[in-house]
């Protein structure tokens, strides 16, 4: 039965997870992700989700138990944020290299120090090279939908990679919005049972996690890279299927274009700053300015072709990065610059919203203004 409710982004995630029916949920609370494990443990203890909650003693063990559950071949889920993700760091690439299609929600919060509980993307962005697909969300509904899509994409045999579903800490995780909660049968129809081929089974013993010497390690990594390429194909396919079934779409699942047809200047944004930028674009359009917005829904794998096609005819494109690779630039900026290296379009990176600083309309307008005037990217403090 479809329900329309007003819930937080975190609850939306928990509701979606419940519909995906994971069997094992090893979780460790950390602000602002805590609402997710709280809600899920409620579901489990009320008997509405048939799963085992493992109250691990650290995020490191959460990731490890997630790994263990997938080794047995059951669907599993965890959630974390900030330093929790940093503590998981060691295990994340092992999960992806083991090709376990795990799903984790991340309530993006900056990494200490100094300690700060508010939103930016430094936790997820710091894990960009670890073989996890990363999908960002703009609304609670999108968070709900993305979780369901994430299991579908991750479990495609040619992908078999873990996915982080990222929602901005507080500005989405704790914001109450109307969400349409889908019917279990419909979700079951979209997301079939998880039946992996390679599992730990006493009837057919296999060894997982062997040591790969230099003669094979390279090939393991190469296969992950190929799987990322496959994901670039599979994400739009799964998204189309989702859209036709549930009637909601987010661009093509990789990027969404807003007012880009005749745009001369555009910003690329991800997460909740997309919403603010939508409003700014609308306002500037009313003033007659040819501006547009590219919402980067999927950051890994990086949708290079989509970025080239949507940016090549622009005069300038700016990126709102909520993370900076210290000593260099924003992570998205670097990728966009690399993608557009053969195009004439000017690329400027804007670092914004670090440690929970608001990205408001004024700052977005400032970015557009700089682009139009031919200025350089700045830190939008």
């Amino acid at each position: 039965m479809v329900k329309n409710v007003v819930i937080s982004g975190s609850d939306a995630i928990a509701e979606a997870v419940k519909l995906c029916k994971p069997k094992v949920c090893p979780m460790y609370p950390i602000t602002p992700s805590t609402l997710v494990p709280e809600k899920i443990s409620e579901f489990i203890n009320d008997g509405v989700l048939e799963a085992e909650m493992i109250n691990v003693e650290s995020e490191h063990s959460a990731a490890s138990a997630l790994f263990g559950a997938y080794a047995i071949g059951v669907r599993a889920f965890t959630a974390s944020a900030s330093n929790g993700i940093a503590l998981m760091h060691e295990i994340l690439p092992i999960i992806s290299a083991s090709r376990f299609p795990a799903v984790m929600s991340v309530a993006n919060r900056t990494i200490s120090g100094p300690i700060n509980i508010w939103n930016d993307h430094s936790d997820a962005m710091s894990e960009r090279d670890q073989g996890w697909i990363q999908m960002y969300c703009e609304s609670s509904q999108e968070a709900f939908d993305t979780i369901i899509m994430a299991y579908k994409i991750a479990e495609k045999e040619n992908v078999s990679l873990p996915i982080m579903v990222c929602i901005d800490g507080f500005s989405l995780s704790h914001v109450y919005e109307p969400v349409q909660i889908e019917d279990q049968k419909k979700v079951d129809a979209f997301l079939p049972k998880y039946n992996p081929k390679n599992i730990l089974d006493i009837k057919n013993p296999k060894t997982f996690g062997p040591i790969a010497f230099p003669n094979s390690f390279f090939e393991f990594h190469e296969q992950e890279q190929l799987a990322m390429k496959e994901a670039l194909k599979e994400i739009p396919l799964a998204h189309t299927e989702f859209a036709s079934m549930f009637g909601r779409k987010y661009g093509n699942g990789l990027i969404e274009l807003i007012e880009m047809k005749d745009a001369e200047y555009a910003l690329i944004a991800n997460g909740t700053s997309v919403g603010t930028t939508r409003v700014v674009v609308e306002e500037l359009r009313k003033e007659g300015k040819k501006v547009g917005l590219i919402k980067l829904k999927t950051f890994r794998p990086f949708p290079k072709e989509e970025i080239i096609n949507s940016c090549k005819n622009l005069k300038a494109v700016g990126i709102i990065d909520r993370h900076v690779s210290l000593g260099s630039e924003g992570a998205i900026t670097l990728d966009v610059k690399a993608a557009l290296k053969d195009e004439k379009v000017r690329v400027e990176g804007f670092i914004s919203g670090l440690g929970g600083r608001d990205i408001d309309k004024t700052r977005i307008k400032k970015a557009f203004e700089i682009l139009e005037k031919g200025g350089k990217g700045i830190w939008l403090k």
Binding site: A65, L200, I202, F208, P210, N215
Partner: protein
């Protein structure tokens, strides 16, 4: 079939790469026999995971998973939870790790998992260390020339193979370790010979077929086979003329000193001096009491004219005297100078000293020319040098390798009295050796592509690959190992070898020497007691905690079976002697484990529902008997032995006093 209750079925397949005599492999094998096929093992990163699962091979006949260093217990939690959800309560789950994975880095995960009460058996195979090594006669390429491994000090710069660039690089030695007496193997290529323990790693070329890229892998001696191509030194870096340090010269007016001692001694080595020294090594002698350097060069010999010319060029002709068979330089100071150069005395003790290895190529070549003038001859394009000194041949062979010369193995022959050996008739039966060598330039350049096929490093100025022609088991010898910064390899007897390590853990026995708790001048090994992990786990409220020994396999089996029946967490500690880490002989694993048990260093007991029960109460032997079997306690003084004895006695007393008592009462 079941013998004494122990299943004959092997679930830990042979062919794994553990050291001969490995206590951990032995423990594992018997743990699996007791656990049976309905078992899933999650193991932490460590020795056992490396030796048992080199992709695509595995020794595990049951489902096995390895994830990372410190999380076996957490991975096992996930496994148990998933099995529970699948309705499988039967399958055994064992989380296994070494002392690092359970006592230290993985302690948090272990404590967390135990506290959550999953039905998992946690096993720590506690080996307290790891490491491997080279025999004492290994000669190491250093910045200051060739040195015996025994002469290397921390801080010395040694040559290493730069694994990224395949170049020759200089690196600092950051550790020298005495590894005690061990069984060694002798590995021979056409031009190198080296002795090393079975687990010492060598750099081996791995050919990946016509399509694939070839690459280098580290292989342990035990994995090496005849025909394997190992990386070895071809040519060293260009050296510098050697500066002779001041020697205590006799002054004018001293006893027996006359005018002819007013000679100029060279400050630095030169091609001319080196050539004369080459002749000297073969045909010369020094008699300081006679103020004489002599050369046995009869008139008909080609070398005589050459030597005279060299002596003249060195401005010593005013000291020269000659007769039918000999040339003499009559000078106390020249004699003292020659004597100080380190070429050894007597035909059988001749050697090429380390400073010769640091010379420029030109001077080395002159030295070889000199050698050839005395005891060498040509057969076709090949040069052959004969000597009664094995050390001379060995060092010559290595010197030639630093010069980019192709050199063969050392041949030995015994010649009867009266045989003509290099222009001389033997006065009695003698054993001689010889090496053959030739310049390798021309032909190789001509067939470069073919040679590239044969020698992967063809074109590399300093290194080449050489085929192993034999590997022989040798006796038990004292061994040493080096640790080198950055590249972690060094060049021993012309072959690139890996260095190794041994690090302290919370489980390391007090006063044991490790690379992170070395036996130093002031601090003598590990200063802390062993972390009492079984008690800490029991204090979590775990129903069954036990310690076991590989000397009592029936007891080990019973404990595994008992632990797996517990409907919750259980914990088993097994002390497993480590051959390289403990510096013991592979044949002594069980003996050492037995001493650990009999000395009460590692007693076996159970803590069942909080009640302690000693399973074996042996008549106590002195702890010294346990310590003296192991190289890691070699530095231990009688004082420290006393302290260790007290430590052991205190623990024994505690166990005996509490035997049969509920020591964790509150929890049950």
């Amino acid at each position: 079939m079941v013998i004494m209750g122990i299943n004959e079925e092997e679930l830990f397949a042979s062919g794994h790469r553990a050291c001969a005599g490995c206590g951990e492999a032995l423990a594992l094998r018997h743990i699996l026999k007791a656990a049976g096929r309905k078992t899933i093992v999650a193991q932490a990163t460590g020795c056992m995971e490396v030796v048992s699962t080199p992709y695509p091979e595995t020794s595990w006949e049951i489902p096995f998973v390895h994830c990372a260093f410190e999380n076996a217990a957490a991975v096992a939690s996930g496994i148990r939870a998933a099995l529970n959800m699948n309705g499988d309560k039967e399958t055994n789950v064992i989380a296994m790790g070494g002392d690092g994975a359970m006592f230290d880095i993985g302690f948090g995960a272990l404590s967390g998992a135990v506290e959550r009460g999953h039905k998992i058996l946690y096993i720590v195979t506690d080996n307290e260390a790891y490491m491997n090594c080279l025999a004492l006669d290994a000669l190491i390429m250093t910045k200051d020339g060739l040195k015996k491994i025994t002469e290397i000090n921390v801080g010395d710069e040694v040559y290493a193979f730069g694994q990224k660039t395949n170049e020759l690089v200089l690196k600092k030695c950051i550790g020298v370790f005495d590894n005690g007496k061990k069984r060694v193997f002798e590995i021979n290529t056409n031009s190198n010979t080296i002795k090393a323990t079975g687990n010492h790693p060598f750099l081996v070329l791995q050919r990946n077929g016509k399509q694939g890229q070839n690459n280098f892998v580290w292989k342990m001696v035990e994995e090496l086979k005849k025909g394997d191509e190992i990386v070895s030194l071809k040519k060293g870096l260009e050296g510098k003329s050697f500066n002779f340090s001041k020697i205590d010269l006799s002054k004018i007016g001293d006893y027996k000193v006359n005018k002819i001692n007013e000679v100029n001694l060279p400050q630095n080595s030169s091609p001319e001096l080196m050539k004369l020294l080459g002749i000297y090594v073969g045909d010369g002698w020094t008699r300081i009491n006679k103020a004489e350097v002599g050369f046995a060069l009869p008139k008909n010999v080609k070398g005589r004219k050459e030597a005279k010319q060299l002596i003249e060029n060195l401005l010593w002709s005013h000291c020269l005297s000659e007769n039918e068979n000999e040339l003499h330089i009559n000078s106390i100071n020249v004699a003292k100078f020659f004597d100080s150069l380190g070429f050894g005395k007597g035909a059988k003790n001749k050697i090429i000293p380390q400073w010769v290895f640091t010379l420029p190529l030109k001077e080395k070549e002159s030295f070889i020319e000199g050698l050839m003038l005395s005891d060498g001859y040509k057969i076709g394009k090949s040069n052959r040098y004969t000597s009664a000194s094995h050390e001379l041949l060995r060092t010559l062979r290595l010197l030639l390798q630093t010069m980019g010369v192709r050199v063969g193995k050392i041949h030995k022959q015994t010649k009867k009295e009266g045989t003509l050996v290099v222009k001389r008739t033997l006065l009695k039966e003698s054993t001689y050796g010889y090496v053959c060598f030739s310049s390798k330039q021309g032909a190789l350049l001509k067939y470069a592509s073919q040679n590239k096929q044969r020698n992967y490093l063809f074109g590399n100025e300093h290194f080449e690959t050489k085929k192993i022609i034999s590997i022989e088991k040798k006796g038990i010898e004292p061994t040493l190992d080096l640790r080198v910064e950055g590249e972690h390899n060094f060049i021993a007897n012309g072959i690139v070898v890996h260095n190794t390590g041994i690090q302290r853990s919370g489980a390391t026995f007090p006063y044991a020497s490790t690379t992170t708790s070395p036996a130093g001048k002031i601090i003598s090994g590990k200063q802390q007691p062993k972390k009492p992990l079984p008690f800490i786990i029991a204090a979590h409220g775990v129903e069954y905690v036990a310690t076991a020994s590989i000397t009592n396999l029936i007891d080990l089996k019973n404990k595994v079976e008992k632990a797996l029946k517990i409907n919750g967490p259980s914990f088993l500690h097994v002390l497993v002697p480590c051959i390289p880490g403990w510096k013991i002989d592979p044949s002594n694993t069980i003996n050492v484990a037995k001493k650990a048990l009999d000395s009460w260093v590692s007693p076996i007991y159970e803590i069942e529902k909080g009640t302690l029960k000693l399973n074996q109460k042996p008549v106590q032997i002195p702890v010294e008997e346990y310590l003296m079997m192991q190289g890691r306690f070699k530095h231990v003084t009688p004082d420290i032995t006393k302290k260790i004895q007290t430590y052991v006695n205190d623990r024994k007393k505690f166990l005996e006093e509490n035997d049969g008592k509920k020591i964790f009462d509150v929890l049950y």
